[in-house]
């Protein structure tokens, strides 16, 4: 099956600055990918080229095998949020959605639907200037969902969200992806998306540093999941059967290598072992991230 999103030697130069440098990657359907890198790494520029807001200096970006701007009615297949604040403050949330829906022939009933989906139905007729940042984030997401897309492209969607909002977003994206849909979300904080994404693309200074699954990344640097359970022996057997390496550490604690906490939790559940503690050890993921991005900065 063809990739949903393809970047081919994507390059963008602003004057003398190379914002995106020969970036190539591909996203498969049904995956959630985190697009990570420090601020100024070129994430937003890349996303803008993906959805046709900016044109590449060289290379190309394809969605569903064609440049975004060449798709007929792309908003019916791709939902994108590039800024959390793209609203006229004097316009109601509902009218914001209606003006976009009108342009693609989506009926008002769908506007009501997405407003309910993002839990904004009560605020829909109020002017956006009275909305909190979290509400604006959700309104932006509602706009992206108007056309019932198969692909969501979100730039820093967790920015400014409170923990409850982050959890809501995570649950939403997981259920969206579980229907076979594809998600690309950017963030400058790996920890923010580590519980949501399956794959990561890390860029620094406009270049791809690593493309990998999150668990491979975790395994690669030896990050471990610490799990305390009622029956460590039984859990260890179950984890071994799931091809996961473990080290016992007494006091009913196991360290699991090369896995995400989700994976370990799932295995424990399937094995019927009660888990008392499940922790991704230290800030290992964040350390990897810093290490990887710092490394290329030193290189260039």
């Amino acid at each position: 099956m063809a990739s949903v999103v393809v970047a081919e030697s994507l390059t963008k130069r602003f004057g003398g600055v190379l914002a995106v440098d020969d970036l190539s990657f591909a996203l498969e359907a049904g995956t959630i990918t985190g697009f990570l890198g420090p601020n100024g790494a070129g994430k937003t520029t890349t996303l803008r080229m993906l959805v046709g807001l900016a044109s590449p200096t060289s290379g190309r970006a394809l969605v569903f095998e064609r440049p975004y701007a060449e798709l007929e009615q792309p908003a019916l297949r791709i939902g994108a949020v590039l800024e959390a604040t793209d609203f006229h403050p004097g316009r109601s949330g509902r009218d914001h959605l209606r003006m976009l829906a009108t342009a693609v022939g989506v009926p008002d009933s769908r506007v009501t639907e997405v407003l309910t989906l993002v839990e904004l139905q009560d605020a829909a007729r109020r002017r956006v200037k009275g909305y909190s940042l979290g509400m604006r984030q959700r309104l932006g997401l509602a706009a992206a969902l108007l056309g019932e897309p198969e692909l969501l492209v979100l730039d820093e969607p967790a920015n400014g969200l409170d923990p409850e909002g982050v959890r809501w977003l995570r649950d939403f994206l997981r259920s969206f992806a579980s229907e076979g849909h594809t998600v690309l979300i950017s963030s400058h904080v790996l920890a923010e998306v580590a519980q949501t994404v399956e794959r990561v693309l890390i860029i620094s200074r406009g270049r791809l540093v690593i493309e990998s699954s999150l668990s491979d990344l975790t395994a690669r640097v030896g990050g471990a999941i610490r799990v305390r359970s009622a029956d460590p022996a039984k859990l260890q057997t179950a984890l071994a059967a799931a091809n996961l390496k473990t080290t016992a550490s007494g006091d009913q604690v196991l360290f699991v290598h090369g896995a995400t906490s989700e994976r370990v939790g799932d295995v424990a559940f399937a094995a019927g072992v009660a888990v008392h503690e499940l922790i991704a050890e230290g800030s290992s993921l964040e350390e990897i991230f810093l290490e990887l991005t710092a490394h290329t900065e030193a290189e260039s």
Binding site: L71, R91, L100, T102, A103
Partner: protein, 244 residues
């Protein structure tokens, strides 16, 4: 394209900007018509040309129509809604063309309100002061239709200017300086050039007979030319530039 035009009209209706501009326009036309009508002598308000000038105060609507046109695009850049707009309609020339059409439609609405108020009050003052109405039927039709046409085109000129400059403040200042400073200066100093400015082309179109003005048909063509030029520049630049 119909969808995009509908969307643009919804944008115009869903903020208070348009209502504000409309109220400002009504106040200004009322004020100027009232002052001119009451402060002019009976003798001066009796000539055909002066009555024409007096009733053409309704065309002050053109400024507001142009401002509405500027807002139609500059506010999208200001508040970032240009991003979702283009995501939903990546054919940017389609977006811009829809805005030009919406600008013209808004301009027609502005001009109808302006003409009703300007003519209503103006005619009441003329007849109230016992002055005979001096315009022929043909003159009146030209004044009215020319007014509606030029105010409508100003809406599109505003869209074009807004699309070229993008920044709301720059576009508004440029528009006002062009209409109220540069054009009058040019017309005063070099009338053979100044008469090609859109404001003076419009004056020719509605039948004013001030010396040096273009004849009506030529004035109309020049005004349409300005509109086409700015709209085309706006469309071409928007298609090329990144939306950041």
């Amino acid at each position: 394209m119909i969808r995009q035009i509908k969307a643009e009209l919804l944008k115009i209706r869903s903020t208070r900007t348009t209502v504000g501009l409309l109220l400002g326009m009504i106040a200004l036309i009322l004020l100027f018509t009232l002052l001119t009508g009451l402060l002019s002598s009976v003798l001066s308000l009796s000539t055909t040309e002066n009555q024409r000038q007096f009733l053409s105060l309704a065309d002050l609507a053109g400024v507001f129509s142009a401002l509405a046109g500027v807002m139609l695009i500059a506010s999208e850049y200001r508040y970032g809604t240009m991003r979702p707009t283009i995501l939903f309609t990546p054919h940017r020339s389609r977006v811009l063309a829809a805005k030009v059409v919406a600008g013209v439609l808004a301009g027609i609405a502005f001009s109808v309100v302006g003409e009703v108020i300007g003519w209503g009050l103006g005619y009441a003052i003329i007849s109230g002061r016992g002055i005979p109405f001096a315009l022929s039927g043909g003159d009146s039709v030209q004044l009215l239709l020319g007014g509606v046409g030029s105010v409508a085109l100003w809406g599109a000129i505003g869209v074009g200017l807004g699309a070229v400059l993008r920044n709301q403040v720059s576009a508004v200042i440029t528009l006002l300086a062009w209409a109220f400073v540069v054009s009058p200066l040019l017309f005063g100093l070099v009338p053979s050039v100044g008469r090609f400015m859109p404001t003076y082309a419009g004056d020719g179109l509605i039948g004013l007979t001030t010396r040096h003005l273009l004849p009506a048909v030529a004035g109309g063509f020049v005004l349409v030319g300005w509109t086409a030029l700015l709209a085309a520049a706006g469309i071409a630049l928007t298609a090329r530039r990144d939306v950041t």
